[in-house]
Symmetry: C2
Subunit: 414 residues, 2 copies
């Protein structure tokens, strides 16, 4: 197969053009189905068509730009919606990589019948629901869920948003996994691990599992001046003590990359002079190893039991979500690693993804792989989010080379 040549200037120009839709300070504000998001999607459809891809948007806002001449295909893409008032590269970079690599395969004449289709998913950032677009694309989104979903910021129903975006009368299209060797997605790292190690590329081994809990404490509300410490049933004090113990215990149990976060705490009634009768906290744990997640969960349950036994407050553990780690294809990891070794020798590593990505959804129906490029300062979900231009170009070249290898290998096998 001839080398697939991506054009850095065109890649960067398209990426900067996408940035103009919903530009906000140095970042973008492009919530799913907003006018800015829809304008960006229509521009992407047109840009794919200019590249010789057969492209259209479906009823959930997903776009697939097909190389109709290809007999062996990979799907490459990401999402084009952004978080509110956030960065310009999250999702967008992977989308433009897909466009550029699909375009490069067309320009190379779809060599040996090998081609790339470009994919753009909707609402990975969960303005309405987590992985809305990619779940629709694999047939894992019910109409019932669409009926009840609302925009978390504005409260608008998903049905209204789809109607306003002109999508209400379009069919939702499922991706046929038999048409693809697999799915590849590039993304900014959103952490500082690559930068801290002086590396340029991360080959994702798996996307971490996420366990999410709510812990509720029940006590008795009473006057904060007249109620002796000895007889209090202070739900807030119980929460503080529990959260401290969990932080201590998790520190002992954590693996190298385990992360956990208490993202919210609420005390009721929340008055300075009233002993809280109710307190709750949200706790999230992430790790790539199911065994680590399991032992953190066991420690949590143990501490809940101890706390309940010790009193004086009640405690309830609610499991909000438990996603297990999603393995990336070993074959794709090797292809990405080979390309990285050639083009950035000694400057890449294998690593888990601490964040969720559309790739974990596509992985349910076909082999999937992911490539990370460094985030400057580890910053994401913020207008300061950025990546060096040469790193952006290198990432696309490595992803294109990996696509070539996968398509070539598979060609030889068949």
């Amino acid at each position: 197969m001839p080398a697939i040549i991506i054009k850095p200037d065109r890649l960067l120009a398209d990426l900067h053009r996408l940035r103009t839709f919903g530009a906000y300070k140095t970042g973008v504000h492009r919530p799913t189905y907003s006018p800015e998001d829809m304008a960006a999607r229509r521009w992407l459809v047109a840009r794919m068509q200019e590249a010789g891809l057969s492209s259209r948007m479906d009823g959930i806002g997903n776009i697939v730009g097909e190389n109709t001449a290809a007999r062996r295909r990979l799907l490459v893409g990401s999402h084009s919606d952004s978080q509110n008032h956030a960065g310009w590269l999250d999702g967008a970079m992977g989308v433009i990589y897909g466009l550029e690599i699909a375009r490069a395969f067309v320009e190379s004449g779809t060599p040996g019948g090998a081609g790339v289709d470009a994919a753009v998913f909707a609402d990975e950032e969960a303005h309405f629901a987590s992985f809305l677009g990619s779940r629709s694309a694999i047939g894992a989104l019910d109409e019932d869920e669409i009926d009840i979903a609302r925009n978390l910021t504005t409260g608008e129903t998903l049905r209204e948003a789809l109607a306003d975006a002109g999508l209400a009368d379009l069919d939702r299209r499922a991706i046929d996994p038999s048409q693809y060797l697999g799915y590849l997605e590039a993304h900014i790292e959103q952490g500082d691990d690559l930068e801290a190690r002086g590396l340029k590329l991360g080959v994702v081994t798996c996307i971490v599992g996420i366990h999410q809990y709510r812990v509720r404490f029940s006590g008795a509300s009473n006057h904060a001046g007249t109620t002796r410490m000895a007889i209090r049933r202070d739900a807030g004090a119980a929460l503080v003590s529990f959260a401290h113990a969990i932080n201590e215990r998790f520190r002992q149990l954590a693996a190298e990359r385990t992360v956990w976060t208490v993202g919210n705490i609420r005390l009721d009634p929340g008055q300075v002079s009233i002993i809280p009768n109710h307190a709750e906290m949200l706790l999230q744990v992430r790790d790539a190893d199911p065994a680590v997640l399991a032992r953190m969960r066991a420690a949590l349950e143990h501490l809940v039991a101890l706390t309940r036994q010790a009193g004086p407050c009640g405690v309830e553990l609610e499991i909000l979500a438990q996603s297990e780690p999603h393995e990336m294809s070993c074959h794709f990891q090797d292809a990405l690693g080979n390309a990285a070794s050639r083009m950035a020798p000694g400057r890449w590593q294998r690593m888990p993804s601490g964040a969720g990505h559309d790739a974990q959804i596509l992985a349910r129906i076909m082999p999937a792989g992911m490539l990370f490029v460094p985030s400057i300062g580890g910053v994401s979900h913020h207008v300061d989010e950025d990546t060096r231009e040469d790193d952006i170009v290198l990432g696309c070249e490595v992803l294109a080379a990996a696509c070539s290898q996968i398509l070539e290998t598979k060609g030889e096998q068949t």
Copy 2:
């Protein structure tokens, strides 16, 4: 002086009549200047007049029922507003004691020129501002403060509320301390100390000082999945660790009756997947001993300094309020103790008040004393708040006897 005879049936009947204004479940909902509160106040004015007292309401809703025949007087009362959806005795009991004792002195013919004036203060429960009525009565409430105050629940301005209550055109009346030997107030304990010790009466030694703090932690918001534990600046984790350390340290430093409460905690942005960049907690400490309050404060400041030094989060301590303990008159304590020893031998104690009361405001301009009766189960600020009827009657008899003694003693001295 002939014995002052209070009438238990009349006392309880008036107390139950007051309970009907704003009745809510087994408690009352009588927020300051609500139609129910104003109806109750108008009824109290009328009831005082029926008792032969010269009674009227002033421009802040305070009522004084004067025994115009008396040459030596005490002021006895409390507040008639309630917390929202709260108990029937908080404030109300002390108000009806004032009415009954003032009435009993009139019925005894104001013996030797000794009499009691009944006082009813407004908004002790701080729907608009702490001790609004009693501060007005001692000349410690500016018009400027009235201009800006709003109802904490409804947002209504105080000016609007006063106008709606028909009080806008009335003068506010200051109490002349030269007219009184002092102020006495009875109240439910609002704690369980008397009940736990099997006692019937508490003679208040002082009203505790309250130190109120806000502690703010500043960190860096970041992705909860991709940001390694080692580089996090998690303001929420800093708060949990700090709150735990404070609870441990305060336990060591506390005196027998010291209480402290973390009444509220807030993490920003409060999302399960975002590391909090800001966290804050409200902390309140109460004790009767200024030295204890001072050592708790020193420990707090020391921990703030240690936390700031250790990093990685910033921490700021803000002092929201620092009231020092308010001493009750020794002479009044002795008079209350003598009466209690006669009428409930071995069943009373001296004790501090953990809650704030109008008596601490009146204490700024004249001697003040307080008497507590037991709260069943220590419950207050709740519809379950209650006190045994014989305890209610006993409290009024003891307070009346103490008034007699104080007025008699002072009479002999002059």
